[in-house]
C-alpha cells in the first residue's frame, strides 16, 4: 500500500521544456506509467523517450526502454484520450498556476507542481479555483511524490528509495533525500515520500498528508520535515496529538536563521515573531514527536519513535 500514487497511476506531463523533458525521461526510466504530454504547439506529434532502464525502479522490466508519448494541445483532450489520473507540472513560473487550473478543470485528480518561483498572487487565485473541485494539488516548488518501485512523479533521485514502512512528508527537497537515504540505509524504507513544497501558499499541507499516512495500513510511522516560516508544523503537531495513531519523528530546519531574512524558499522566513523553529519544535515535543537534533539524526529519530 501507499498514498496518492501507485503502479496504476497514469501520469500526464504539462510542460516539455528542457527540465520537463529531462525529468520525464528519468521517470519513464524508473517505470512510471507516463501516458501523455500537453504542449500548445506540438499537439499531434509524439515524444520519444528511450534509454537504459533504471533498475532501482519498477521491477520486472527489460534492460532498455523506448516509449512514444502522444502530445495534446489541451489537458482536456489528453485526459479524454489517455484516462490520465495525475499530472505533473513543469510549466515555467508565469504560466504554472494556469496549468494547475487547467488540469483541475479537466478532471485530473492529482496535480503535482514542481515549478519553482510561481508568484504568490497566482497561487492564491489557483487555490481559490481548486475549491470545490475534485482535485488535489501538491506543491508548487516541490520535488514531487514517489512510491518506491511503483511510481515516481517529480525530480527526486529514484535510486535512494526503497519500499518499506515509513511515510515521508517534507517542505524541503534535499532534506527529503537526506531522510529517505537514512531510512533506506537503516532498512526501514518508505511507503510514499511526499514533498509539499517550500512556498507560502501550497496545495497540500502536512495535516493532509499525515491523515493519509494515518489511514494507510502499510505505513507504520511518519517522518515530517519542516522549516521556519508559517504555522503549518504547529498545526501538524496539533493533528498528531489529537488524531494520529502512529509514531511520528521530525526535523525543523532554520533554528539559526535570523529573523526577516528569506532562507532561499519563498516560505522560509521568520517575520513578526512568527514561524520560529523554536515554536515548531516545542509544538512537536508537546505532541510526542521525536525531533532529530540535526538532519543526520533523522533516521535514528524515526527508529526511536517506532520503538516506543
Amino acid at each position: 500500500m501507499s498514498v496518492l500514487i501507485d503502479k496504476n497511476t497514469k501520469v500526464l506531463v504539462q510542460g516539455l521544456g528542457k527540465t520537463g523533458r529531462f525529468h520525464t525521461d528519468k521517470a519513464i526510466a524508473y517505470g512510471t506509467r507516463t501516458v501523455g504530454a500537453v504542449h500548445p504547439t506540438r499537439a499531434g506529434t509524439t515524444e520519444v523517450f528511450e534509454g537504459d532502464t533504471d533498475h532501482s525502479g519498477v521491477d520486472g522490466r527489460s534492460d532498455t526502454y523506448r516509449v512514444e508519448i502522444p502530445v495534446f494541445a489541451t489537458v482536456r483532450d489528453a485526459v479524454a484520450e489517455t484516462g490520465a489520473d495525475a499530472s505533473v507540472v513543469y510549466v515555467p513560473p508565469p504560466f504554472a498556476a494556469d496549468a494547475i487550473m487547467e488540469a483541475a478543470e479537466s478532471g485530473v485528480g492529482l496535480i503535482i507542481c514542481i515549478t519553482e518561483g510561481v508568484p504568490v498572487a497566482d497561487m492564491i487565485r489557483a487555490k481559490r479555483y481548486l475549491e470545490g473541485k475534485d482535485a488535489r494539488l501538491i506543491g508548487p516548488n516541490c520535488p514531487g511524490v514517489i512510491t518506491p518501485k511503483q511510481c515516481k512523479i517529480g525530480i527526486m533521485p529514484g535510486y535512494i528509495h526503497q519500499p518499506g514502512r515509513v511515510g515521508v512528508v517534507s517542505r524541503s527537497g534535499t532534506l527529503t533525500y537526506e531522510a529517505v537515504h537514512q531510512l533506506t540505509q537503516l532498512g526501514l524504507g518508505q511507503t510514499t515520500a511526499v514533498g509539499i513544497g517550500g512556498d507560502p501558499v501550497n496545495g497540500t499541507n502536512f495535516v493532509d498528508v499525515l491523515r493519509m499516512f494515518n489511514d494507510d495500513p502499510a505505513t507504520e510511522g511518519v517522518i515530517m520535515i519542516g522549516e521556519i516560516g508559517g504555522t503549518a508544523e504547529e498545526e501538524a503537531a496539533e493533528f498528531v496529538k489529537a488524531e494520529m495513531t502512529k509514531p511520528v519523528a521530525g526535523f525543523i530546519a532554520g533554528t539559526t536563521a535570523p529573523a526577516g531574512k528569506r532562507m532561499g524558499h519563498a516560505g522560509a522566513i521568520v517575520s513578526g515573531g512568527k514561524g520560529t523553529a523554536a515554536a515548531k519544535i516545542e509544538a512537536m515535543h508537546d505532541a510526542d514527536i521525536v525531533v532529530a537534533p540535526t538532519p543526520t539524526d533523522m533516521g535514528t529519530a524515526m527508529l526511536e519513535a517506532l520503538g516506543r
Binding site: 527540465t19 525529468h23 513560473p93 508565469p94 518561483g117 510561481v118 508568484p119 504568490v120 498572487a121 497566482d122 497561487m123 492564491i124 487565485r125 487555490k127 481559490r128 520535488p143 525530480i155 533521485p157 535512494i160 517534507s170 517542505r171 524541503s172 527537497g173 534535499t174 532534506l175 527529503t176 533525500y177 537526506e178 537515504h181 517550500g198 507560502p200 501558499v201 520535515i225 522549516e227 521556519i228 516560516g229 508559517g230 504555522t231 503549518a232 526535523f251 530546519a253 532554520g254 533554528t255 539559526t256 536563521a257 526577516g260 531574512k261 528569506r262 532562507m263 532561499g264 524558499h265 519563498a266 522560509a268 513578526g272 515573531g273 523553529a277 540535526t294 538532519p295 543526520t296 539524526d297
Partner: protein, 407 residues
C-alpha cells in the same frame, strides 16, 4: 524586493490612495527648494524631513555622526517664523542627515547611509490608525489587518492586546467587499466623511496589493485629519520577487545601494545567498539542506558565515562563482561544502570547486561532504586534484571537522 517610502507613496498616489504631498531630494539645496512649494500647496507651515532607507524604526533612530538627531524630524519653525525659518531649519537638518549613518532597531549596529530625504507636508492629525495587507498563510489568502493602535509596533499590539487587531480575509475572486470595508471602518470607530474616505482608501489598498503582487503593504500610521481626510502618513511596501517580471515600473525602483553586494552578485549568478555573522562558509544544494547545514554548524559549536543554496540545477561555473563569493568574505575561516546530489551530480560540484580553487586559491581549511548521484566520481575528481581537502562521512561529521579546523 523593498522600495523606499517615497516610492511606495508615488505608487499609492497612482492608485488614488491618499498620501500627503512630498518631494524626494538628494542634496541640501534640493531640500531647501522643496519647502516653499510644499507649504504653499498644503497651506500648512509644518514640514517633515524623513530619511529614506530600507529599514523601519527611523523616527526613533539616531545618526552615528550626530547622536542627538533623529531619522525623522518635524519642522515647526514655520508656525511663528514663516517659510524662511522653515527653509533655514531644513537646510541645517539636510546638511546633518544627508550622507550620515542612521542606526535603527532594524539596521543593526552598522546602520545605513542616508542618501535621500523625503520632504513632506505637515498634516493636522486627529487620529492615528494602522492598516496593512499581507498574506495569511493559514488560509492561503491576503488579509486586511487594521487596528486603532496606529504608530505603535504592530507585533507588540498583537501580542499584548490581540483583541485590538481586526482582520478581514480577501476572497481573490471578489476582492475586499464593500461590507468588509464598512465593517472595518465601524470597528475603528470612524463615521461621516472619515468613514467614507476610509472605505475608499482600504478598498484601493486591497486591490493594489493583488495587482502589484505585494508581499506587504503597511500603513503605520494611517491618519485621520481634522477635516476628515484619511491619509497614509508612512508607507511600506515589499514585492514578491517572483512576480517582478510583470512590474517593470516597480523593478525600476530597485535601489541596489540598500542591498548587500555579495547577495546581489549571488542573485546575478542565479544563487540564493545571505550574509551572516559567523566564520564558517557554507556551500549547499537546496534551501532546506542549506538551513539545516547552518543549524548543524551551530549545533557543534560554530557559527555560519552565510546561507548559500546553489539550487538543483547548478553547473560547474555557478558552483565556482558560489565558491568565489564565499572566499571573498574576509570573516570566513573555513569552508564546508555539503551536497546531497539528486539531480545535481556530485561530479559537477567537484569540478566547480576544483576550478574555483585553481583560480582563487585556498587559504582556509575546506571540508567536503558528498552524497548521492555520482558520488564516487565526485570524490575521485577531488582526490585527483591535489587540493588540501578533508572528506566527511556525513553532515554532522563534516560540520564538526570544519568547526575544529577553523578554530
Amino acid at each position: 524586493m523593498k522600495v523606499h517610502e517615497y516610492q511606495a507613496k508615488q505608487l499609492m498616489a497612482k492608485r488614488g490612495i491618499s498620501v500627503p504631498a512630498g518631494r524626494v531630494v538628494a542634496t541640501v539645496d534640493e531640500a531647501v527648494a522643496a519647502v516653499r512649494p510644499l507649504v504653499e500647496q498644503s497651506g500648512n507651515p509644518v514640514v517633515v524631513v524623513k530619511s529614506q532607507i530600507h529599514a523601519g524604526g527611523r523616527g526613533k533612530g539616531r545618526f552615528k555622526e550626530h547622536p542627538d538627531v533623529a531619522g525623522v524630524n518635524v519642522v515647526l519653525d514655520g508656525i511663528d517664523g514663516g517659510v524662511e525659518a522653515t527653509e533655514a531649519k531644513v537646510r541645517e537638518l539636510a546638511g546633518t542627515m544627508l550622507g550620515s549613518t542612521l542606526v535603527t532597531v532594524q539596521t543593526g549596529d552598522e546602520g545605513r547611509r542616508v542618501n535621500r530625504l523625503y520632504i513632506e507636508q505637515g498634516v493636522d492629525i486627529r487620529r492615528e490608525l494602522y492598516v496593512s495587507v499581507l498574506l495569511d498563510r493559514s488560509v492561503g489568502r491576503n488579509i486586511v489587518m487594521a487596528s486603532t493602535e496606529g504608530g505603535m509596533e504592530i507585533e507588540k499590539v498583537a501580542e499584548e492586546t490581540p483583541e485590538k487587531i481586526l482582520r478581514e480575509v480577501i476572497d481573490p475572486a471578489f476582492g475586499l467587499t464593500a461590507f468588509q470595508a464598512a465593517r472595518l471602518g465601524l470597528a475603528l470607530g470612524l463615521d461621516g466623511d472619515a468613514a467614507r474616505n476610509f472605505n475608499g482608501f482600504v478598498t484601493a489598498l486591497a486591490s493594489a496589493a493583488m495587482d502589484w503582487d505585494t508581499d506587504l503593504i503597511e500603513i503605520n500610521p494611517l491618519v485621520v485629519t481634522k477635516s476628515g481626510e484619511v491619509m497614509a502618513l508612512d508607507g511600506k511596501m515589499a514585492f514578491d520577487d517572483n512576480a517582478l517580471f510583470r512590474h517593470p515600473d516597480v523593478q525600476a525602483m530597485r535601489d541596489e545601494s540598500e542591498e548587500d553586494s555579495a547577495e546581489l552578485e549571488a542573485k546575478e549568478a542565479g544563487l540564493s545567498y545571505i550574509t551572516l555573522d559567523g566564520t564558517i562558509g557554507c556551500l549547499v544544494n537546496g534551501a532546506g539542506l542549506a538551513m539545516a547545514t547552518m543549524d548543524t554548524i551551530k549545533h557543534v559549536g560554530g557559527e555560519p558565515a552565510n546561507f548559500l543554496d546553489v539550487g538543483g540545477g547548478a553547473d560547474a561555473d555557478q558552483v565556482a562563482r558560489a565558491f568565489r563569493i564565499i572566499t571573498g568574505d574576509p570573516n570566513v575561516k573555513g569552508i564546508f561544502v555539503n551536497i546531497f546530489g539528486g539531480i545535481m551530480r556530485c561530479d559537477t560540484i567537484a569540478t566547480g570547486i576544483v576550478e574555483a580553487v585553481r583560480e582563487v586559491g585556498l587559504e582556509v581549511p575546506l571540508v567536503v561532504r558528498l552524497e548521492g548521484t555520482n558520488v564516487e566520481l565526485g570524490k575521485e575528481i577531488i582526490r585527483n586534484s591535489d587540493m588540501d581537502v578533508i572528506a566527511a562521512d556525513d553532515m554532522k561529521d563534516g560540520a564538526a571537522k570544519i568547526v575544529e579546523l577553523a578554530r
